[in-house]
């Protein structure tokens, strides 16, 4: 299917990526992480550390989504006018 096709194309197309490109990607990732975002000037963070923190951060975000889903479920069960409230909250965000 289309997914498989594009995957094979992708692996054959860019078989070699340079160290520089990897480093650049690591830095981009680092800038997304609250833990490491500010340490960028003082000392260089290892790639392994960045990847580790990335995993932790994603796990935290997943957990937050879990919690928020639970709270939403409770709130929606308890409000009669949930529909209206939802729209209201959408408009005021």
């Amino acid at each position: 299917m289309s997914g498989r096709r594009s995957r094979s194309r992708q692996s054959s197309g860019t078989s070699r990526i340079s160290e520089d490109q990897i480093n650049e990607l690591i830095i981009k990732l680092q800038q997304l992480l609250p833990e490491l975002r500010d340490s960028r000037r003082s000392d260089k963070v290892s790639a392994a550390r960045v990847l580790q923190e990335t995993c932790n951060y994603i796990r935290n975000l997943h957990r937050e989504v879990d919690d928020l889903s639970e709270r939403l479920s409770e709130l929606l069960a308890n409000t009669d006018t949930a529909q209206a409230a939802l729209i209201r909250s959408l408009l005021t965000q």
Partner: protein, 150 residues
Amino acid sequence: MASPDKPINTDVPEKNAFALHFLQTLSNLRTQNPFNSPNKTNDRVTKIKKAAYVSMARAAGGTNRLWSRALLRRAAKEDNKIVRLRKKRVTWQRRRRNQRAPEVERLRKLVPGGGGMETSKLMEETAHYIKCLCMQVKVMQCLVDGLSPK
């Protein structure tokens, strides 16, 4: 914040598109089975969670992204209840990858569709995935705040 550099596509995920799709799915869920039925709480939470992820994947460009495509496909599979176990092919390339960087392998498991990606692509997709997750959390928090009794 977005930079014009080539390697990483830094387009910010569409917040409103996510919110709209999520709300639509939520209201569909409500009409299908009313939320105030006391049992099936866990079921409901699971459905809301799934709605959130699917909406995020749709807002993020549907099938244009590798991770969103993987996520949507997985969701569609769950809906059809056809759960096929995929054989894990361990090619020598993958085995070598495993030996090289355990951190990368861990990341692979967290990003939808990460198993089939090249390392550079994986990192690019991860950056986008993180941005989308942050946006998702923000919007859901807004909804929770808006619905909470004042």
